[in-house]
């Protein structure tokens, strides 16, 4: 910080040059280091409201069947409904309520880690707040970022939000059983995804019935 005297005797310019988004990015890096030290694999689950983020986490946990070795940070505006839904699967869950905020940020994750019992935990899911815009701007320090979208969101979800899909390591299309009823062509959505992010695997699933879940587990590098 530099203070420069300007116009008049008591007016000063305080030079700050403070990079505000960079602060979140550096906190995210610190979170990642902390996960690495504890040998925890952290996965950020993003997606719109109602796309099936919680159901996907539940389905993965059920398939993995490793209960207490998994922790989940569940982000939500005000309720703990999702945390309770996930807790049933035996994972250790910490609820983070963001209140007015539409996304989790690295600082909230940093605080949540303090509240989590990480002894013996090998895998951490971070369920972001339902949103396809803001979370893209705020990395949390997770090793992998997965975006869930679903056929009930219509045929344009991916082309309309290229930013978040570009940042994803894995893209999941949920509720595949409803594609016909919704008149949505999953192959078109896959094409959209591949154009924006050719490297991310695109997996069709039905989180409720478990279809495609082994492929998601595989794409995330998890072992059953």
């Amino acid at each position: 910080m530099k203070i420069i005297k300007s116009k008049g005797p008591e007016i000063f310019d305080i030079e700050l040059e403070k990079a505000l988004l960079a602060k979140n990015r550096s906190l995210a890096k610190a979170n990642k280091k902390r996960f690495d030290r504890s040998k925890i694999l952290a996965i950020d689950i993003m997606g719109s409201i109602g796309s099936g983020k919680t159901t996907l986490i539940k389905a993965i946990l059920k398939k993995l069947g490793i209960g207490k070795k998994v922790a989940v940070i569940a982000g939500d505006l005000t309720t703990s409904i999702d945390a309770e839904r996930i807790e049933v699967e035996g994972a250790h869950v910490v609820q983070v309520n963001t209140g007015k905020e539409c996304h989790l940020d690295a600082n909230l994750i940093h605080q949540a880690i303090d509240r989590l019992k990480l002894d013996g935990v090998k895998l951490l899911f971070i369920e972001n707040v339902g949103n396809l815009i803001c979370p893209g701007e705020f990395p949390l320090g997770a090793h992998k970022r997965l975006v869930v979208t679903s056929v009930t969101e219509g045929p344009y979800m991916i082309v309309k939000h290229p930013y978040i899909f570009r940042e994803a390591d894995v893209i999941v299309l949920n509720k595949i059983d409803l594609a016909k009823a919704m008149k949505v062509n999953p192959s078109q959505l896959q094409k959209d995804a591949k154009k924006i992010n050719p490297n991310a695997p695109f997996i069709r699933i039905n989180a409720l019935s478990g279809i495609g879940i082994p492929k998601v587990i595989n794409a995330l590098g998890l072992k059953t």
Binding site: F12, D13, L16, E17, R166
Partner: protein, 123 residues
């Protein structure tokens, strides 16, 4: 909506800095926001003014300069700016395409910053 969190952080930083420097009144704050951040400048300005109310920065002028984006396209090698809003009304959603070859495979070199440059205060 993420404008609220960034505006709160700007306001908090300004008021902390002013207090540490025994400022009596904030005349202006100067920000630089990259054109590839997903921030709506009008909303940020409005929120900062709202959050300043009742503080020493209540009457401060909020100056925001946009930092032009610069991308490097991995597909065709293009280096330079992106399409203007007039050429592409969905710029903020389609912001990563290369203006030369429309590829998404490019690296953002500039335009994702949000910097609080300086604060002008009366002591």
């Amino acid at each position: 909506m993420h404008e609220f969190s960034i505006s709160s952080e700007i306001v908090r930083t300004v008021l902390d800095t002013v207090e540490k420097n025994n400022g009596k009144k904030v005349l202006s704050i100067q920000l630089e926001i990259g054109e590839l951040t997903l921030f709506n400048i009008e909303q940020v300005t409005f929120l900062i003014h709202e959050l300043f109310k009742g503080s020493v920065a209540e009457d401060a002028e909020v100056k925001i300069k946009t930092i032009k984006a610069r991308i490097h396209c991995k597909a065709c090698g293009y280096k330079g700016g992106i399409r203007s809003e007039r050429e592409d009304p969905f710029k903020h959603f389609a912001l990563q395409t290369c203006p030369q070859c429309n590829s998404f495979q490019n690296k953002v070199e500039k335009g994702r910053e949000c910097i609080l440059k300086r604060i002008q205060v009366v002591r």
